[in-house]
Symmetry: C2
Amino acid sequence: MYKSATRSFPVYDSLRQAIIEQALKPGVKLPEDSIGETFGVSRTTVRNALVRLDAEGLVDLQPNRGASVAVPTIEEAHDIFEMRQCLEREVMQRLCAMDPKPIVKALRAHLAEENKYLHVDTTRSIRLAGEFHILLAELTGSKILANYVNEIVSRCSLIMARFAQAHSAKCGLDEHTEIIAAIADRDAERAIARMHRHLHGVQDRALLKPDDAEKNNVSDILARYVTPND
Amino acid sequence: MYKSATRSFPVYDSLRQAIIEQALKPGVKLPEDSIGETFGVSRTTVRNALVRLDAEGLVDLQPNRGASVAVPTIEEAHDIFEMRQCLEREVMQRLCAMDPKPIVKALRAHLAEENKYLHVDTTRSIRLAGEFHILLAELTGSKILANYVNEIVSRCSLIMARFAQAHSAKCGLDEHTEIIAAIADRDAERAIARMHRHLHGVQDRALLKPDDAEKNNVSDILARYVTPND
DNA sequence: AAGTTATTTATTGTATTCAATCATTGTATC
DNA sequence: GATACAATGATTGAATACAATAAATAACTT
């Protein structure tokens, strides 16, 4: 839906990544000026990216008082997790009605990747765990379902940044393995049950920590996310 | 998610309305200049609205060649309708687990409205039919579910504009009545079945007409959608 | 005359500019 | 010392301006 051939795309993408990886924590202000400087673009361009992120629910764009990383309430957190259950149930349902061979192959390949970076690169590990769910959705072949799952997984990352203990964001790899097995057997009921329990575990671990909305300097953090192209 | 206290909001809102009501048909170009003139705002402001509509899937924003009303393919159409089935099934499920009294009351009130304008004001009638589904979603109390349903109902309007016979967009009121009855009985299975059949009917009627992408003048059409506030 | 290239025109991408709003600090008053 | 108000500074809202790209037209070649 988003064509990357614009200057605002890298801004959008880096901000998104930074939010998902919890480098930009909920509540952090996102001033157009400083972000523009970081990326070497004008405020117009930054604003474009912010509008998009607002539409996706990752950023909160208040009139006349600018943008900040969205701060999900505990109610929204429950709401989002419930929706996630619904979407991923649908994913399981559909995958179990398809030819499991290519699906399982792709999933196993991803799982190997997850294993590779477990206990090695935490940030990457967390990202891969999320991408496992996005891959599942993509394998259904439904663009719109994949989009929704993508969006909601991102928002769950945000929730974990707000409420969860540090590093509790990692999905259990065993659980991913179990889910793949159920799909391989085309056992929809089991796949749904496994997924449900898995997500419930993630949710449980997510809703513990009281918030410490520590202020961080945006520019310093973002500088690490600029992809150098010269 | 979208704060209305900006100049771009009326532009966004009018465009959205015009697309949903099928006054702006799929494929119609949306030049920033002429739209800006129509609303008395600058291109910057128009662009803001277009970016948002692109994010919602109602507008297609191609780099360097501007915006046009999205033209869903037949594959996307099926994809979207399938997703809609999933979402509205969830709505039924949730509503049937709640206290039916206030829900049924709100739904009956809406149905009365639908009846009132049936055979009187076609445009309004079509809009109300869509809003029935949005109301259902809102009554679950889930913001995010309501958002998704809202979005997907809009995109279904787009699909009907592209493929359906003129005026086949109207939902059967009897079917709405049946759905309400099932909710009143807290009979989830029946509610889901009714909704499923209902949507299937809508989908069937939607996928007939070959496209006649007649060119239309945007400004003329949009002029009717400008809400005068002075 | 058909096709190709050059030129012009229209439209978009982005930066810059100015006005409006909000946040903050300082000052006065009680 | 606390509160209310005023002035300042910082940040956003939105229009304008300029550069870059694409579309349309004209001129040219074969």
